[in-house]
Amino acid sequence: MNKCRKTRGQLPAFLLGELKERDRERIEAHLAGCPRCRRELSGMRAVLAGADSLRDEITGAMETVDWDSQANRITDRAMSRSDGVAREGRRIPFRGFLFRPALRLAAAALLLGVILGAGMTWLMVRRPAPAEISLAEQVRVPRSVLDDMTVEVARRETLDYLEKSRYLLLDFVQASPDRSAGFWRTDFAARRTRDLLSRKKFINPQLDQFKMAKARAICDQIEWLFLELTQISGELSAAELERIRSLIEERRLLLKINLVARELKDNEV
């Protein structure tokens, strides 16, 4: 089993011919005797075949374009845009303009005024240096890093929500009917359910903002189930208990939670 796990981890590198001779031979030997890993390999081949088909599609689409006219159009637009507009980063001869004879006196007066003004302002507003500097004022983080961090937070929040929901739902499936009914009548269960319902409201915008449609769908189902439970938990009859239990089982909610959670874990930013 461990061998399988190790082999599967290296299958992409094997498929792309990126492994050393010794590792390649080891994997070949394992594949010869392991049909599941062979199936995994052919699945990955299908992925690369999908990339090939996309490349073919692009080649086909490219043939429909008149690239010379396209280049011409782009050039026209670029050149027309540049008229009267300085390109980013282009150095404007500011010093030459400022120190031309006619403006020398005015520039000197302006400079003197700025220096005096700055000095006075400093004297008036200076305060003792703060004991500590706010991190927010000092740290400059690239936007992409911040984006990744936000996605990562959303991912972890969702994972946590799924985990906690899973534990609650496990009660219906694993505990005996009497125990389960008793548990759902307690304040603890009601509090937990309400807590998870409010957390769901909190993660909703994040699920929408990022590409987490599957997680959103499964979380919606859990939310719907919890809503049902909050409405009936005070007087949960055996019939209702059985109905909820069969709903969880029919929809294979726990399995789906596991799958989505695993996918979220795999897609670590």
Binding site: R39, L54, T75, M79, D208, K214, R252
Partner: protein, 211 residues
């Protein structure tokens, strides 16, 4: 059992010849062209556009799977290139720099329009999860490899998708991708492997007995 040969060793070179790979010789004319463009030379700008527009298109098309969006990105990339040309350092790889602009534009456009459209317009229902053991309900409904591939590609994270597309569709080298994304080569490699594994996991329920 037949000897199992990695795909990289057997992949036909027919696909590769469609892609224009920048050779050192081909790239060596770039500093001179850039200098001419900086001086406002229209012909030099057009020459660069002609040379690289297909490369940008490939990346944008793979990103959006849509001709119109890809053409918009091509145009916007070259306009942005012209706008930022004074910032380009001639010791950098021009193609990578240009593709970095294209990639950023793709992501911006995707965040602005597509993500909203795909998630709100066609929400993915939980039953679309296609669990492995109830696969019989779903196989055959959407057996087109391209459609399946495309749908699964959408579900990768932005970074994994970008790397997968650049590696397997644009056929860039790891080092080129690393330069474009400004990350270490090892990171690119490991995210590419992760993307393949995730794609396999996402595609497997749709593929049924084929795999």
């Amino acid at each position: 059992m037949d000897r199992i040969i990695p795909a990289a060793a057997t992949a036909g070179s027919s696909k590769i010849r469609n892609m224009e790979i920048e050779t050192p010789a081909a790239g060596s004319e770039i500093p001179a062209l850039i200098e001419r463009i900086r001086e406002g030379d229209r012909e030099a700008f057009m020459q660069v556009t002609r040379k690289y527009q297909r490369k940008v298109y490939q990346m944008a098309y793979a990103f959006f799977r849509n001709h119109e969006d890809a053409m918009d990105i091509v145009q916007e990339t070259f306009l942005r290139f012209y706008q930022k040309i004074d910032k380009f350092q001639t010791d950098r790889n021009f193609q990578n720099w240009l593709l970095q602009i294209a990639r950023n534009l793709c992501i911006d456009a995707y965040r602005k329009h597509h993500k909203k459209g795909t998630e709100q317009g066609a929400p993915l229902h939980v039953d679309d999860l296609h669990l492995a053991d109830d696969s019989s309900h779903h196989f055959g409904k959407n057996s087109d490899l391209k459609a399946i591939f495309s749908r699964c590609l959408e579900q990768l994270t932005e970074k994994q998708r970008a790397i997968f597309v650049m590696k397997h569709v644009n056929q860039l080298k790891y080092i080129e991708i690393a330069q474009i994304l400004n990350v270490a080569v090892g990171t690119v490699k490991s995210l590419n492997h992760k993307a393949i594994r995730n794609m396999r996991a996402l595609m497997s329920p749709y593929m049924g007995s084929r795999l």
